[in-house]
């Protein structure tokens, strides 16, 4: 059985590589808390490449305008149709920001409309339990960005199944540190990242 490989999606517009420490941190958490066979190093996969089919969960983030080329759009559509899942995080934590505006528009255009994910969804209980829904980030609590604590994540869903998970909470900043620093945290704030990966693997 092949390993789980954490994949970061590379798109032609914007700054797709704005959170380079997130993959290593989440890989560390998955290895720390689960028995999943996880590759120690993540990969970067261009959305225009056929190779995206080798990575059924792809993480996307950025601060800048998010636009897909026609080839990327077609590739992403096929990827979603066949069972792939995207996790897109707004690195600005700003619903008035350019990433949020362009990304939500692009997701709606490419896959479908975003809806709020209820706190009872299996995403919040498939490994660690988050009965109140998505955990707040320090950026939300500090009043940065849009100065809003977002109570829900959003998603494009087919029935109860999440196809595209969209976050305005800026987990990319929250999880963007070296895994070695995790020991200094009283609470590991990457646990919700483990849930996202476990959900993708078992949804």
């Amino acid at each position: 059985m092949s390993q789980f490989v954490f994949a970061t999606g590379q798109y032609e517009s914007g700054d797709w590589d704005a959170a380079p420490l997130v993959p290593a941190n989440l890989i560390d958490s998955v290895a720390r808390y689960t028995s999943l066979d996880v590759a120690p190093v993540g990969v970067v996969v261009p959305l225009a490449s056929a190779a995206i089919s080798d990575y059924p969960l792809i993480y996307l983030t950025g601060h800048l305008p998010f636009r897909l080329t026609d080839r990327e759009r077609a590739n992403v559509r096929g990827f979603i149709d066949r069972g792939g899942m995207l996790f897109i995080d707004d690195h600005n934590h700003d619903i008035g920001g350019i990433f949020h505006k362009t990304a939500t528009e692009e997701i709606t255009r490419t896959v479908g409309p975003l809806v709020d994910v209820p706190a009872s969804h299996r995403l919040y209980s498939c490994f660690f339990r988050f009965p109140d829904g998505p955990p707040a980030t320090s950026h939300e609590l500090n009043g940065w960005g849009d100065n809003i604590v977002h109570s829900h994540l959003q998603a494009v869903m087919q029935g109860d199944v999440i196809q595209v998970l969209y976050s305005s909470k800026d987990y990319s900043s929250e999880w963007g540190y070296h895994p070695e620093s995790k020991r200094f945290n009283s609470v590991d704030n990457t646990k919700f990242g483990v849930n996202i990966i476990v959900y993708a693997l078992t949804r």
Binding site: M1, T34, L36, D54, G78, R82, L201
Partner: protein, 460 residues
């Protein structure tokens, strides 16, 4: 008016001797006796015909009918005449009603010989497959190389060329009513013979892309899937019931890998009692179920690029890693090869069945192309249905005898009527009518002879 001969023989004619009158008297008495004999014969024959017509209507001769006259002949043989023997010639499309009618005549003491010109020995059986998509398996038997056309109530389903072994098998979905297989004007027909009880499928293994996409494929096919996937040393991801693994709950169990599965020790008992087991990748290497597997996983054969002449499906599977199945048991059957390696094999174990696939990470096949999604789903559904425990719920009423099923027309006819015998060419129609004509002619001739004799000797 006296005729010339009687006038010439009038008494007192010149030159007539006295002795000749004695001779004439003797001739006359013999003649009268002959006339009486003819009269009696005619009366006897009339009496015999009268007795025959008043008694049971049983003809004395053998009757025959060709395909065109057979329907009317059957009616006549059953109502007007009751011939002791009949020769029936039919065409290649021997209707069950005609066959049964002839069998009924044979059962009513009529000797029936028959010949169906062009009737081919073909057979068709339709049975439900343990698949929630409503799949039916059609099994065909005919002469090697025969071309058969399959139809149902909605039209042509497919055409099949029978293989060298004289048989063919196809699976299809959505059959409307009875299905027929036609080969050169001979048609065998069948209806699906029952409804199966489909219980859940249980997927065991490590949480990962393989188990996830196997679950997706089976759920999309319509199976209810329960899962027990290991996530952490003391944490399983469970979906569905948590009871014991037995045939009352599960139609089949799919094991996606050889990760430590606590439930594996119960699988042997489950299979031996009739359950179905699918072992993927390295799962067959687990000690608890090694004895059930058709073979042993061999050394990894890495993915290979598309070869010349490969179909898209073959090429997609070639992109998968393979643990070839080695050390096949003597009772195992190879279901699929990749190059010269056994990729899929199956065997029976107790009352259950086990199928082993050597392919690794089949999810890559599904994710690779849009075409792969459906092919991956069908392939996994096929593996599960090949082993699934699915008891018959009830027999559909349409499959009861006489409800449009004629699985093997030639064999059924031979079973009902005996071996086919060649009908010799000859006059058609009832032999008894010829006898009656001869009798009538004989009676007329006897009466005419008597009458002529009497008139010639001058009697009235």
């Amino acid at each position: 008016m006296p005729d010339a001969w009687s006038a010439g023989r009038a008494p007192g004619a010149p030159g007539e001797a006295a002795g000749s009158s004695v001779a004439t008297a003797a001739v006359s008495s013999g003649r009268i006796a002959l006339e009486w004999a003819l009269h009696a014969l005619a009366a006897a024959m009339l009496l015999w015909v009268l007795v025959q017509s008043a008694g049971p209507r049983r003809a004395s001769g053998r009757e025959s009918a060709d395909p065109a006259s057979l329907p009317a002949a059957l009616v006549r043989w059953s109502t007007v005449a009751a011939p002791p023997a009949v020769d029936a010639e039919t065409g290649p499309a021997l209707a069950p009603a005609t066959r049964d009618w002839l069998a009924a005549l044979a059962g009513a003491a009529t000797r029936v010989s028959w010949h169906a010109r062009g009737l081919l020995p073909i057979a068709l059986v339709a049975g439900p497959v343990a698949d929630p998509a409503g799949v039916t398996r059609l099994l065909l038997a005919a002469s090697p190389g025969a071309m058969m056309t399959l139809r149902d109530g909605a039209g042509v389903l497919d055409t099949v060329t029978v293989g060298a072994a004289g048989g063919a098998s196809i699976t299809t979905r959505g059959i409307q009513g009875a299905v027929g297989a036609e080969a050169a004007h001979t048609t065998a027909s069948a209806v699906v013979t029952g409804l199966l009880v489909l219980r859940h499928v249980l997927v065991l293994g490590q949480a990962g892309w393989e188990s996830r996409f196997v679950v997706d494929a089976l759920e999309e096919r319509g199976w209810h899937v329960d899962t027990r996937l290991s996530l952490a040393p003391h944490s399983d991801m469970r979906q569905g019931a948590t009871g014991p693994i037995d045939t009352a709950r599960y139609a089949a169990v799919v094991v996606t890998d050889s990760s430590g599965i606590a439930a594996a020790s119960h699988l042997a008992e489950y299979v031996l009692s009739g359950g179905g087991l699918v072992l993927a990748g390295s799962a067959a290497a687990m000690p608890a179920i090694r004895d059930l597997a058709p073979g042993t996983p061999g050394a990894l054969v890495p993915p290979a690029p598309m070869g010349p002449g490969d179909s898209l499906q073959t090429a997609a599977k070639r992109r998968l890693g393979l643990l070839p199945i080695i050390g096949l048991r003597s009772d195992a059957v190879t279901l699929e090869m990749r190059d010269r390696a056994v990729a899929v094999a199956a065997r029976r174990a107790g009352d259950g069945r086990v199928v082993q696939s050597g392919y690794l990470d089949s999810w890559r096949w599904r994710m690779a192309t849009t075409l792969g999604e459906g092919a991956h789903r069908d392939w996994w559904a096929g593996l599960v249905s090949a082993v699934a425990y699915a008891p018959l719920e009830r027999v559909a009423s349409a499959s009861l005898p006489g409800h449009g099923s004629d699985n093997a027309p030639a064999a059924t006819a031979i079973d009902a009527l005996g071996p086919m015998t060649l009908v010799l060419a000859g006059p058609h129609g009832p032999a008894g009518s010829d006898a009656r004509a001869w009798f009538f002619a004989a009676i007329v001739l006897a009466l005419l002879a008597e009458w002529a004799s009497r008139r010639l000797r001058g009697a009235t």
